[in-house]
């Protein structure tokens, strides 16, 4: 259905995560989306945060719509906004592809700045999510605290590309249960999210 979509380029990176500046304002994948970047090795990340802001951190946007009737008109009247404002996406690194194999383990080097970032296709998502060995990486991610929302979105998206989505979710649920032994309340909440 969706062909590979290039969304932007890496503008900041570490071996845990990277930041993508999207080519177009507001044209970002949403949270839980699997993306890839770089080559040799190709790295995989999952979107965990999306932000919109001024390109120049020193210049905050000011309100411009006092005399407009609709929000869209603000942009129509100020076409320069599309260049002054940017959409940024933060991704957590969850694995890499070496030769023909997907490794769901920490990467040893971060992606280069200006690496092209591409949203993975359904096929790629299906292949990647057939294995959930990266879950502990995410569950214990020091990067941010609303990671459970990211995981559940990722799992729901993945379930849609598998032939038997409910069976996939049970498999995923069991993996979560395995990784969250001792955190029953967290597990329960996560499962509730993906059961919808």
């Amino acid at each position: 259905m969706n062909i590979n979509k290039r969304i932007g380029e890496v503008v900041e990176s570490s071996s845990l995560q990277f930041t993508v500046q999207c080519y177009d304002l507001y044209k970002s994948p949403n949270i839980g989306t699997l993306v890839k970047c770089g080559s040799d090795p190709q790295l995989f990340g999952i979107v965990y945060d999306v932000s919109n802001k001024s390109m120049d951190p020193a210049r905050r946007p000011v309100p411009r719509g006092r005399n407009e009737n609709k929000e869209e008109e603000v942009y129509l009247s100020n076409p320069q906004l599309n260049r002054l404002l940017i959409t940024e996406v933060n991704c957590v690194l969850v694995g890499y592809q070496s030769v023909d194999e997907i490794n769901q383990s920490p990467v040893s080097l971060p992606p280069m700045i200006h690496s092209f970032v591409i949203e993975c296709s359904d096929e790629e998502l299906k292949r990647f999510s057939s294995c959930l060995d990266f879950l502990p990486l995410l569950l214990e991610s020091p990067v941010l605290n609303s990671i459970d929302e990211v995981i559940s979105s990722f799992l729901i998206k993945s379930s849609r590309v598998h032939d038997d989505s409910s069976r996939f979710l049970i498999y995923a649920g069991k993996e979560l249960a395995f990784n969250l032994s001792g955190q029953l309340i967290r597990l329960n909440n996560l499962l509730k999210r993906i059961s919808k």
Binding site: F168, I170, Y171, G173, A177, L187, L191, K192, S195
Partner: protein, 550 residues
Amino acid sequence: MNYEINNQPYEDTNILGMVVSGSLNNGVEVKLKPEKSVSEIKVGRYVSIEAESLKFFGVVTDIELGATDQTLRVNPPEISNPFIAKVISGSTAYGVIQVEPMLILSQDELDLIDGPQPAKTIPPHFSKVSFASDKDVETVFGLESNTNFWLGNPLDMDTAKLCLNIEEFIKRSNGVFGKSGTGKTFLTRLLLLGIIQRGVASQLVFDMQSEYGWKGFSEESKEVKGLKQMFSSKVAIFSLDEESSKRRGVNPDYVVRIGYEDIEPGDIAVLKETLNLSEVAADAAYSLERFYGSNKWFKEFLSLSGGDEFIELARSLNINQAALSSLKNRLSRFKRFDFIDQSGGNDSVTQILSYLDRGMHVVLEFGRYGSDLAAYMLVANLLTRRIYARYAILAEKALGDPTQQPTPLVITIEEAHKFLSPDIASQTIFGTIAREMRKHNVTLLVVDQRPSGIDDEIMSQLGTKITCLLDNEKDLDSVLTGVSGNRKLRSVLSRLESKQQALIFGHAVPMPMVIKVRDYGTATSYGDFQIEDTKFNFDEDNEDLFGKKL
């Protein structure tokens, strides 16, 4: 784990899970595979464990629910959400079974010949545990054959036949236990039929309720065939109560009469409790015997009129008069037994022996006397004592010439605890037979609903025990004393179904096993015996045509 692999249907749905911990003393703990539910597995189920080059055979002795998260108990997840319930079960909450490894079979070709050995070690971590296959049952218990009798099916294994080696079985005295209505009689009848069919021993059955010889009844009051209907040319029915036999449509081969002269003081001693005799009163019988002579004491004593004569007797025997009079009182009761004949008995013992010598089986029906414990005990004890004495002589003779050994004899008694209770076991002939193992080629098959009433030493001498449900603590203890792993077998035994299920263990079987006892009483069940007859060449006609089998 990979989703695609994980969701391959397991090649073998028989695999239950894997060993996660354990000890030789306590058995091993097996974590169930997520998709296996604890309710699929019953205590007593036969399982096998693969461990490299070894295969273990064991029995499920306990079933538990485990949780990786201890807060599960206080804070259960939202299992009202079916998705959550599905995920949690088998992962955070999982099933655990306890398995007692009993036997070990090395896959080594040389060792295979020796067959399974008692397990002196346990399988290592992560060994795969599965339900045992029909083949496993065969490997351990053997195929149906001319010595192996199909007694039932292992628990929840309807296509696997569990066979009992009848030849081994009769080498020792054995016991059938279970509380009332659990299927002891049906089970015993099967064992008797098995022994007849396999032709390894003669039998004498003291048929208290007259339910073995010609016909018995199932709970739905349906008639079931007795031994004679199944093997007419090999079974003789003796009766104590001809009238009752006739009424039930049985034409007995012989009607037993006991003479006053047949009764010995030892026969009275056995009845001490049943007749409520004091020690002194029971012992008086011995003094009477010395006084009157061994064939006459009973007759003379009972014909005493009382009065001065009686006081005189008490004085000369130096016995308390009240004790003597209570003895006379109780013994007078025997006058009411029609099978006791003042003018002398018929030679029932010789008659019985003549059948046994020919390898036949004698069932003695008690008719209405079956409800009189004193009559039952008197006759069983009296006949057995004499028959055993004859076997002792024969066996003695055979010492020089082993080919002269008498055919083994199996004697079946019901209400066995009456004969084998701790205070009289040493005095009854049954106690002697049980203790002497198979000294003179005679063994017992004791049938009882209250094994705790049987002397401990005798219980420990029983080779093979087959026990249906028991729920009294003392009975459980008594049946399982001296059995290895008895704490665990106890939980298996106390959870048998209330009917037609039994735990078999001991001498004649390689490992304890829960069985559903073979169905008896339907046309198919009778037919199965015929099929066996031809399959193993037990058929009479064949014997006649081709000469007796050796």
